[in-house]
Symmetry: C2
Amino acid sequence: MVSQLTKLEEESIDYFVSFVQIFGFPKSVGQIYGLMFVSGEPMVMGQLVERLEISKGSVSQGLATLKALGAIVPVEVENDRREHFQADLDVSRIVNHFFSERLEPRLQNGSRRLEGMLELAREGGDTKENEPLNRLKALKKWQTRGQRAIPFIKRFLKN
Amino acid sequence: MVSQLTKLEEESIDYFVSFVQIFGFPKSVGQIYGLMFVSGEPMVMGQLVERLEISKGSVSQGLATLKALGAIVPVEVENDRREHFQADLDVSRIVNHFFSERLEPRLQNGSRRLEGMLELAREGGDTKENEPLNRLKALKKWQTRGQRAIPFIKRFLKN
DNA sequence: TTTATTGTTCATTTTTATTTGAACAACCTC
DNA sequence: GAGGTTGTTCAAATAAAAATGAACAATAAA
């Protein structure tokens, strides 16, 4: 017998599905976290498969993702060899991970690329009339500013 | 005769393709902006179709998106009825648009949903033992903090 | 008018991302 | 070790997103 989702659980699932999708995570990740978040109880894979009615594969992948995010933590349960997980209350981990793992590396990569472009553009002469160069110099300002903003934002969301 | 993309143009296109993809825009938007950005010249649809070798449909859509973002601006050209566009230097428009049009509405929507959930959760009694309620209260803190962060970040990126 | 050019729209095709489920490995219980 | 659980992996199926290109509207030029 599989217990139906309560209205509250459904709402939470919807809430977190939209939330994680902002950051490009698949729906299943939001479903899993949404259910685990409201209840607060440690849960096992089987429960999630049954209650969310999604495949074992998706739950396995989803749990791996959430584990990597630090959004759920393993919990030991006496006399039960199954892996239990509990949703961490700190939702900001998901956002932080997005910044650290997705945004920052890309910005750093962008920084390198931009240097290469400046190099190329200077071949056209380092003058006021070299429009591509002018534009790339302006771009560099934004690039730098963006990179500076990240730690700033992280701190804001931290505590 | 269609002029080949220069090395610099190619680099710029790649750069902006990755950039816009962070914010969930399609590749074509990055290609168009990337090409327009380095050159700085006003351009027409036909040129973009030829030089980027992408379809008229994609360019039309992409230009519409970039126009809506304010990332490109219409430019009048004497004796030429075609619509010319020029890339605005202010790259932050794209980021700002992401915040204003995608993130903020979702956060506001999230806020409403969360109130509904709190309502539902309180039915279980407003006590310390009502774990879902406790968790939703914690979530509300993050929700609020996230919403506060947005104008902050926007200001940081502004000027 | 008629014909050519420019740009939009949208049904179809293509590409990419996600989910499924079967096969498998690890581990426990008896 | 046979049989039962638990969890992972990955090829195939499905769903979602983006690109294409043909049909169309609007306008200009002949």
